[in-house]
Symmetry: C2
Subunit: 227 residues, 2 copies
Amino acid sequence: MTQKEGNALFPTLAILGGTGKEGSALALRWAKAGYPVILGSRSAERAAQTAAELNVQLGQGNLRGLDNEAAAREGNIIVLTVPPEAQISTLSSVKSALAGKILVDATARVDAKDPRPPEGKAAARAAQDLLGPEVRVVAAFQNVPAHALKNLARELDSDVLVCGDDPEARAEVVKLAEAAGMQAYEAGGLDNALIVEGLTALIISINKRYKSKTGGIRISGVEKTGK
Amino acid sequence: MTQKEGNALFPTLAILGGTGKEGSALALRWAKAGYPVILGSRSAERAAQTAAELNVQLGQGNLRGLDNEAAAREGNIIVLTVPPEAQISTLSSVKSALAGKILVDATARVDAKDPRPPEGKAAARAAQDLLGPEVRVVAAFQNVPAHALKNLARELDSDVLVCGDDPEARAEVVKLAEAAGMQAYEAGGLDNALIVEGLTALIISINKRYKSKTGGIRISGVEKTGK
């Protein structure tokens, strides 16, 4: 087994829904940056196959695949990239493996065919309510530019907005976004994730209007030197 | 009177709440671009005084001041930049002057001390519900970088997201944003303005975190050539 073990500098990342478009694009960038990455999927076999393909693409052995529950158990930081309708059921199925860990929730409840403001509480807030205070939930990557991330030669032109109630956990996730090649900003508490979900709807609306596929959001006018 | 009359190319803009920080900053940019601008205020005297000061600053005579109702009557396009708590009362008081016109609503219901996602329907949707189908409501300029706009030498580093149910009215407002020196994007229907209001909260959160005063949003990856 050539798989590295996670350590303080490079914790092991488990990506639930890691065989999907978003999850595998993030996995590729993180594995390239040196992180041990576990792809989680409902099917361990599919996860292992996707991991093997990405390892070949990278010429490395940083990725492996497991079923979602085993991935959540073995990962140090857990990233959720399943479709919105599978968010709560997936989290319920892995809940016991998440205690004490950071859960990065990328869920955005937006219908690409009818983009509009999401209702109720933020998806990541719902996750926190389900998981309780033992789990450090951070919302980020709701609008990952999967197409651009997959092209490792490409400069990324889209920022990551990181919302969460735990400042240390937010800072960890900013580091993950930077490792994936994106600029990232802490953008307030978990409830603000509702706005970031909405941004996904805005971007889809703008893409439709201008026949684009690559619309993104950037933050301007902020120096990231403050503490 | 040196004041130009509005025409098809340069309609007369009436800015309700035009003596405030946002309104006067926009007024300055539009007057400089050649638009006849009427500042509206609860006090006609204060409006006239601010208009005179801005005319001196510009070395032009494009601005004048009236009370809000007279401004709404004389303007071709009406821009609302009053504080959130005055939105509905101001609109109610000028309603009869708005029929057939475009109303640009810049209201964002965000508490700078406690920024969080706004609730309910978008402020501009509430305006449309109050005013009825006779008025073409467009939401824009909810997060005007007033400080930067006032400095005419300064390149603006913040985009305008324009939401509305009337495509022609949206396109008119994109032109206004461009005339004020900003890039602008049509971003869907009036309900999406709720997300843009939320963006104001996100930007305040980011400014607080990084001790910035100039945070803004830019759209990346979109060519504005589509129709």
